[in-house]
């Protein structure tokens, strides 16, 4: 199970990180020994540097940004630290309205992720909703392992209470994996995980498409009173850094 693997690999990863240098997005090499300094302090210092250099490059950027936002895109991604949407698409503040949770889900009854959709569609009038899954997703891997082991959907993680938030949150994904069990078990673990990650993205595209907010927007578009809204499904490949469009884009019929 990926969760357990990542726990047992943690000291090794930490050692490897300390011994190698990490490239930041501007291409500078930073010593991993900076990990020893309090991480929250480092974030605040990083922010001060970023704010200063941004202002230097564009003196009016922040004043303009403070006046309002007009993003055209709503991004539903995974909370995974390796999928920061603005970094991987080289976007700037103001471009993308974002919700991230475990395994990039938009369950119809989840007030949290659905309220983001309602605000984005009705208030901000975004034109695109992107569901962005990613390879090596811990949540998807947990659901896959549970399904292949024949666990019940309510007990994805055996070391978590079934009534606890994590198992409840993963239940729909595990249920889905269980329904695909024969196809998934015929593949290698790595291929099966990729398939589940992709199928999960497609399912969330469907959840979003069936939402009241999107249905109303498409109705308005068909009547000529609204503007175009499209729902897309993407998968970010961690091993290459490349996003792949699954070509399952939905719009009004």
């Amino acid at each position: 199970m990926f969760f357990r693997n990542s726990l047992s690999l943690f000291p090794i990863i930490l050692l490897a990180t300390a011994l190698t240098s990490i490239v930041n997005v501007e291409g500078h090499r930073l010593s991993a020994r900076q990990n020893k300094v309090d991480a929250s302090e480092r974030l605040l210092q990083g922010n001060a540097q970023w704010a200063a250099s941004t202002k230097k490059d564009n003196t009016t950027f922040f004043q303009t940004s403070a006046k309002g936002q007009d993003p055209k895109v709503l991004w539903y991604g995974c909370a995974d630290s390796r999928e920061p949407e603005s970094v991987i698409t080289n976007s700037i503040p103001g471009d993308i309205f974002v919700h991230r949770n475990i395994a990039n889900q938009v369950p119809p009854e989840d007030a949290n992720s659905v309220s983001v959709l309602e605000y984005a569609i009705k208030h901000l009038k975004v034109e695109h909703v992107i569901i962005a899954g990613h390879t090596n997703c811990g949540g998807a891997n947990a659901s896959l392992s549970a399904a292949l082991a024949g666990s019940s959907a309510s007990q994805t993680l055996s070391d978590e209470p079934s009534a606890g938030a994590l198992n409840k949150w993963l239940e729909p994904l595990t249920e889905f994996a269980l329904s695909q069990k024969s196809q998934l078990s015929a593949k290698s673990n790595s291929d099966a995980l990729t398939v589940l990650v992709e199928e999960n993205v497609k399912k969330q595209v469907e959840n979003v498409s069936n939402s009241e907010a999107i249905q109303a927007a498409w109705q308005a578009e068909t009547n000529g009173t609204g503007r175009a809204v499209r729902v897309h499904g993407w998968v970010y490949d961690l091993s290459t850094g490349l996003i792949r469009d699954l070509n399952v884009t939905r719009g009004p019929n």
Partner: protein, 218 residues
């Protein structure tokens, strides 16, 4: 069409990073060990990694309308549980920001002439029914706003709500089972000490401000 542009800028970014460090992506794919869980607003102007200069792999991120931590929300509770007890983050930060649209809507609603405190449900955004998810989501913040008795809708009032909201969410977070257990035991099951913090991002300056409401193990 912005989505094709995003795919193009992604391809360029991936190529640049791979050229700078060919081991970056293969290493990244092997696992993650973020040090911080960032709970922020969905607002497009507050992308966590960009404004802190954090690299992929550092921040586990959850963003929702007005950076809420509702005590019974299994979405955020699952993120917290996974981040603290499975990934071993050492910091959880709640990050609010100036000119928050959600907070502004709550201010407008709480100070509307026909607003009656305690009269639920509240149609914070009156274009939509009170039972709509966005209004149910904002209800606690509208109630908090009403309790502050701010008197009038102003920039200063909005900033007060933004800061009081972060303090309330830090309190909610501190009362969660995951954080209570981490504080009471001194460390988490993974042997980590956890600290929680409340910050506010000022859109007009690009600067994060620590509200100094941090908590950690006794």
């Amino acid at each position: 069409m912005p989505v094709h542009q995003l795919l193009a800028t992604n391809a360029q970014w991936a190529a640049d990073v791979a050229q700078s460090d060919p081991t970056f992506f293969p290493t990244s794919a092997q696992g993650q060990s973020p040090h911080t869980l960032w709970i922020g607003c969905a607002d497009s102007r507050v992308p966590a990694s960009v404004i802190t200069g954090a690299k992929p792999g550092e921040l586990f991120v959850h963003r929702n309308i007005a950076n809420q931590f509702h005590p019974d929300d299994k979405n955020i509770l699952s993120v917290l549980r996974y981040a603290v007890d499975h990934l071993g983050v050492e910091h959880v930060v709640i990050v609010g920001h100036s000119r928050c649209g959600g907070a502004q809507a709550c201010l407008n609603a709480a100070l509307a002439p026909n607003f009656v405190p305690g009269n639920l449900p509240i149609a914070t955004i009156e274009d939509y029914p009170a039972e709509e998810d966005i209004n149910r989501w904002l209800e606690p913040l509208t109630e908090l706003t009403a309790s502050l008795e701010l008197g009038s809708i102003s920039d200063a009032a909005l900033q007060t709500i933004v800061e009081e909201n972060v303090k309330l969410q830090v309190k909610n977070l501190s009362q969660s089972e995951v954080i209570q257990r981490a504080f009471e035991n001194g460390t988490t099951a993974l042997g980590k000490k956890v600290q929680i913090h409340g910050w506010v991002y000022d859109l007009a300056t690009g600067r994060l401000k620590d509200l100094h409401v941090s908590q950690s193990s006794k």
